[in-house]
Amino acid sequence: MSNSMFYTGLSGLNAAQAALVTTGHNTANVNTPGYSRQSAQIASSGGVYSPSVGFIGNGAKVVDVNRSYDQYLVSQLNQAQSTNQSLSTYYTQISQIDNLLANQTAGLAPQMQTLFTHVQAVANTPADPAAREQLIGSSQALANQFRSMDQYLRNLSADINGQVAGSADQINSYAEQIASLNKQVAMFHGVAGGQAPNDLLDQRDQLVNDLGKLVGIRVVVQDGGQYNVFMGNGQSLALGDKATRLVAVSSASNPERTTLAVVNAAGKAVELQESMISGGSLGGLMQFRSETLTTAQNSLGRIAIALADSFNAQHQQGVDLQGVLGENFFSEASPGVIANSKNAAGLTVTAAFSDTCQLTTSDYRLDVRADLTFAVTRLSDNTMISPDSVTGAYDGVTLTLAGSATAGDSFLIQPTRTGARDLAVLVTDPAKVAAASPIVTGNTFGNAGSGKISAGTVDASYRDAAAPLGGTGTVTLTYDSASNTFSGFPDASTAAYTPGEALSFNGMTVTLSGTPSDGDTFTIEANTSGVSDGRNALLLGALQNKKTMGGSTASFGDAYGQLVSTIGNKARQLEIANTAQTSLAAQIRSAQQSVSGVNQDEETANLLMFQQMYQANAKVIQTASTMFDAVLGIR
């Protein structure tokens, strides 16, 4: 009888010891990430039947050590943290552009304003070399600003490439560790008496959580407790004890972009569609890159192209201090075309601007379909677009195809991507600023009538005309009262006189008015030595408020405002979403921790409880010993 009491006491002692060790384990892991608190499950060892007495209990035993774990909360938490990571990464990235655009003193808007202020200063005092010098200086500063902003965005893009490459290694490492833990868990699953290897399970859950913060994943629990981990629409990362290997590659459609590829059984890297990668910091990066970064680069590029194009066109219609027609003031980018590296090498595509006013901030893709027809898709809204019925251009870009097409060929067209990078000032000599108009008009001294001739304007075709003012460089229009006509045009034609009606020839337009007398003459001649003529500078200055962009809906300033507004709104929206998601994740985390987390006070209380249990059971053994001694003491 007292023999069994020894064992009963001993069983209690053992149970208390196991519980104390477990409490100690919990206390030791109070700050271990992913640790779930454990508790020793103590059960009664049952009783021994004693005839006429009944069952006499014979102590306690530890049947299992449980971890406090809620699969539902854990997967909720993974999901919430993955989304949170995606949003916060996107927000961190877009904040950099947000801050870039924030600078009101050295930003693009004030530099652009300075340029036009100086254009007007040239218009006011065209003969002043200092004003011309200033104009060149401020245009160079503006071009520098465009290039440096573009460089900043390019650096962001390069950073993202680096991060994508780094992510591939990290994902591989997590996937391998999960696969290896799967193997160990499966092993214990068969061997142990049905008890779970709690700490291995915690480790694996923590790896899944870490992986989820990197990229959005889905976990399917297989029989035997193994985790199968999938990314996006079903690309496996870990299946049982096998891990998939990812590598970072340059995208076939756009070598500037680093993306992920899966190494298949044959050891070949197969590029993953970017739509597969969502959630986690990597998903946030990819989304930022495709939605915001390219739009920002293209927006700046588009402004630079529109500015260069319209400024150049007007500058070419003026003459410089020497009376020579103006050259291109800015260098202008041309649209980029990137052939997919998987294309059959037959077809080549070249692109050119047909009308910079129609440009958008989107990139485009040209696909060769199975029937060898072509489809052009605008990537911003993923819409197939048809060419303009008159010009044949796609949103202001003309595509020229040469060679033989193969079904499946595709080309990425980036009309505006390099616009800001390629903006530079070509005119460096102040005298070469074409501030003046190429023609000057006058009525001849001695005219008897009151006829007047307007100052005259030129258009782009003036430059193309071989000798717009005829051989002598002066057109003298003579009025004949009998026929009410003017003669003397370079092509020897005559024109009927209607006062106030514009007469256009060889790219020039003049208006004659008043009552000329017979034989009165009016001259239109090349504007040589017209150093105080700022008419073309006035026209250049007018470009500031002209709607030269977005299909004649936006000025340069409007387009820049659109960029600021787009980025500002998106950043704000992300900030709000990120804050909300952070608090959601924190709530789930505290619910999960409420189940699985270690509370130090609780463990301290347990420590005391099991300590006393240990002491009490020792007392039982002592009592048994005393009883035994009592029996021995019977003489």
Binding site: V30, N31, I94, S95, N99, L101, A102, Q104, A109, T117, Q120, A121, A123, N124, T125, A127, D128, A436, V440, T441, G442, N443, F445, N447, A448, S450, A455, N527, S529, G530, V531, S532, D533, G534, L538, A542, Q544, N545, G557, Y560, G561, Q562, V564, S565, I567, G568, N569, A571, R572, A586, S590, Q593, S594, G597, V598, N599, Q600, D601, E602, T604
Partner: protein, 307 residues
């Protein structure tokens, strides 16, 4: 609800971190004096601020053009005033030269006086502006517009270009007038008129009797007609210059009030309201201090302390 020890520290950290960053934000706003540190703070406001800043800059740009125009027009006005005086002197001389008792020598003396007025007039017509550009040359301002010819005549070699300046959104104004429209309007050349009468006065007529006398009278009458007409023309140009100067003043007034309006709008859009910002600063500071204090207090409470 069970609170895990990790959760307690995490939540305290998050709370203090959040309060610290909002405190820093208010501090940055106060430091920069603006509500909008980045476009995301107020996307609409930031975009409007861009447009309003451009409007302010444009108005300043037009003001600069108005200053330039005012400068050249005032200069022109001064020159034209002198031209008016010279032409009046010429007219006075012409009347004096009509005196019937004048001898050939008297007339020659008169011719010399007129020659000096002519030189003076030519000098005025070849006036330069502050940048050394000839005021009445049209676009060809690099060389004197009224050049003396080999035959002694004075010819206008400028052009009829109008130097326009953008003095307001939709107003371009000529900052000067060309020499043709000032000195040679409607085929009436003031220089030729004076030169003609000088030639007539220098021609001896004492031996020619009544015929000679009549020639002098005719020449003086013709000259008087032409100079009067030229004088009227200069007065017309002067009044046009005066009207332009007046218009510039009026435009400056509207420009200034536009700037004032824009600046106050811009200030509404982005400037920090200091009193509310400082109130917010203290509010956030108090909140942070409160979390810090509660953290310190709560983390001190542990069962161990009572064992």
């Amino acid at each position: 609800m069970r609170i895990s020890t990790q959760s307690f520290y995490e939540q305290s950290r998050t709370a203090m971190g959040g309060q610290q960053s909002s405190l820093l934000r208010v501090q940055q706003q106060i430091g920069a004096g603006t509500k909008i540190l980045a476009p995301s703070d107020d996307p609409l406001g930031a975009t409007r601020a861009l447009a309003v800043s451009q409007s302010i800059a444009l108005t300043a740009q037009y003001a600069a053009s108005r200053n330039q125009a005012t400068q050249t027009l005032s200069l022109e006005e001064n020159v034209l005033q002198s031209v008016t005086t010279v032409l009046q002197n010429v007219k006075t001389s012409l009347i004096a030269a009509g005196n019937g008792t004048f001898t050939d020598t008297d007339r020659a003396t008169m011719a010399t006086t007129l020659q000096s007025s002519l030189d003076q007039l030519q000098g005025l017509a070849n006036s330069v502006d502050g940048n050394g550009q000839f005021l009445f040359a049209g676009f060809k301002s690099g060389s004197p517009p009224f050049a003396s010819q080999a035959d002694g005549g004075i010819k206008y070699v400028g052009d009829q270009g109008q130097r326009l300046m953008q003095v307001d959104v939709s107003r371009q104004m000529a900052g000067t007038d060309d020499g043709r429209s000032v000195f040679q309007r409607d085929g009436n050349d003031v220089f030729a008129a004076i030169q003609d009468v000088i030639a007539a006065l220098n021609t001896p007529v004492e031996g020619a009797g009544a015929v000679g006398q009549a020639m002098v009278v005719d020449a003086l009458a013709a000259a008087n007609r032409n100079i009067t007409s030229a004088h009227d023309n200069v007065l017309t140009v002067r009044s046009s210059v005066g009207a332009r100067l007046q218009e510039l003043d009026a435009l400056a007034v509207t420009g200034d009030s536009r700037t004032l309006y824009d600046k106050s709008y811009l200030s509404d859009l982005q400037d920090m309201d200091y009193s509310s910002a400082i109130a917010e600063y203290y509010q956030r500071q108090t909140a942070l201090q409160a979390s810090q204090q509660t953290f310190v207090k709560i983390q001190q409470i542990a069962l161990f302390n009572y064992l």
